[in-house]
């Protein structure tokens, strides 16, 4: 289970790429692709194992529009990360 102390990296089969057509970022993996919005792309790029999930949340909060409730940012980012994990697209390391 992903929590704030987890260190994440994209699974081996996943490649993060900017789509030359749309400029949007994509996660490419065998036989599929997942188009990411701007925030999701930023989150995916931070999954490098160098920082914890807590630090990812902090960085997203810093970059968010003023007045965005912190609980909403944390909730949405964690939901996205857990969805990626459930699809086998993230590897979860320890604290």
């Amino acid at each position: 289970m992903i929590d704030r102390s987890s260190r994440l990296r994209l699974a081996r089969q996943v490649r993060l790429k900017a789509d030359p057509r749309s400029g949007k970022h994509l996660l490419l993996y065998p036989e599929r692709g997942l188009e990411l919005n701007e925030i999701a792309a930023r989150v995916a790029a931070l999954c490098t194992e160098e920082i914890t999930v807590g630090e990812i949340l902090d960085r997203l909060a810093e970059a968010a529009a003023a007045g965005t409730p912190r609980e909403r940012i944390d909730g949405e980012v964690l939901e996205f990360l857990r969805a990626l994990e459930a699809r086998g697209l993230l590897t979860v390391g320890g604290a």
């Binding site: 081996r12 030359p20 057509r21 490419l28 993996y29 692709g33 994990e85």
Partner: protein, 367 residues
């Protein structure tokens, strides 16, 4: 013809040569007529044209792509276009060192097929047993940190061993396990009487796969593709005709799917004569079944038409001789009786003990 959508995946059939002779092969029955293979330069051009069309992934497949001596160069050419590269292979001829060179050239992932965990079963369906060599190739892929998909095509002869295939995927450290029931076209249609499992066997396999999917969630992605003969609704074949996939045969014929050459009522273009862009957006065969204008009743007013795109055109042609007919796999097809009769045959066959005769995929065997 409606406007061409964006293709995402190029299926590059590099050769129809293959050391195996699987009786469910998706290659055409007249293999030997496609022996004039595109060379390295031609494939390199095709990869460039594919990337320019917006394609993001390439599946290097066959036949057996490992029999191409220029496979390393082809991987490098696809990598130069920044395509995500899947190698779809039987793992034979096995060569762990070569796998290292392919990984260095830019391979993103590898799919290795296992015909059976039972040696006699493998020999029955493929004409030979290569399990040990395949397991060595899978281990070599893992040692190279190449993401591994294990693929097993399911049929009456091996479907009872789904739990063993799951255990094998765990042991090999696969990232994905594809348990794909045979699609009854081409060689598999010729062998349907020997291959179609009973409904009970399919259901049992599905239950095993579903339990393993829960248990291995986040570790191994488990796909279970049901046979459309038991689904009552057709599969969304290739995510719709000429909608997401573009396939090129070893000799350069462009198709919307593996089986489309079987639709002999259509004429198919060649990448030797035209660009992929001209083919994808302008060829009348590619446009023939895009959108909904071609749909017969009951498809044209069916609420499922945006989900299944009317099913498989190749199956409609293979079973009915009319590529624009409703897919007989659909319970709403006026000719669904053909599929029901095939199911009844499978139930009777289960009572037999000896493995049924099968026609192996060989270059020289006449269709």
């Amino acid at each position: 013809m409606s406007e061409a959508p964006r293709p995402y995946t190029l299926v590059a059939e590099l050769t129809y040569r293959c050391p195996l002779a699987c009786g469910y092969c998706s290659n055409p029955l007249d293999l030997a007529r496609h022996a004039d293979e595109l060379d390295t330069a031609a494939w390199t051009r095709v990869f460039g044209e594919a990337a320019a069309l917006g394609i993001l992934q390439v599946n290097l497949t066959g036949g057996e792509p490992l029999v191409r001596p220029d496979l390393e160069a082809l991987v490098a050419a696809a990598r130069a276009e920044d395509l995500y590269i899947n190698l779809i292979t039987s793992g034979i001829p096995s060569d762990a060192e070569r796998l290292g060179r392919l990984a260095s050239a830019g391979l993103d992932s590898i799919q290795i097929s296992i015909q059976d965990s039972d040696r006699q079963g493998a020999a029955w369906i493929a004409g030979r047993d290569d399990l040990e060599a395949k397991l060595e190739m899978a281990a070599a892929a893992r040692a190279l940190q190449l993401p591994l998909t294990l693929n097993v095509v399911l049929h009456r002869g091996n479907i009872a061993r789904v739990p063993e295939f799951i255990a094998l995927a765990e042991r090999l450290g696969a990232a994905r396990l594809e348990l794909a029931n045979t699609q009854y076209l081409g060689w598999a249609l010729a062998n349907r009487g020997a291959l179609l499992p009973s409904r009970a066997a399919v259901e049992e396999a599905r239950v095993h796969a579903s339990a393993a999917r829960q248990r291995l969630r986040g570790r191994i992605e488990i796909l279970f593709v049901r046979p459309d003969y038991y689904a009552d609704r057709p599969r969304a074949c290739m995510d719709g005709w000429a909608r997401r996939y573009l396939l090129v045969t070893p000799d350069g014929i462009a198709l919307p799917c593996h089986q489309a050459l079987g639709i002999t009522s259509l004429h198919w273009p060649s990448v030797r004569a035209q660009s992929l862009d001209a083919i994808w957006s302008g060829d009348p065969s590619f446009g023939a079944f895009r959108g909904e204008a071609w749909m017969p009743a009951p498809c044209r007013s069916c609420p499922e038409r945006e989900t299944d795109f009317g099913g498989c055109r190749c199956q409609a042609f293979a079973l009915l001789g009319d590529a624009a007919a409703t897919d007989p796999a659909c319970a709403l097809s006026p000719r669904h009786d053909l599929v029901i009769a095939a199911r009844a045959g499978a139930e009777e066959a289960v009572a037999q003990i000896a493995p049924p005769p099968i026609r192996l995929r060989r270059f020289r065997s006449a269709p």
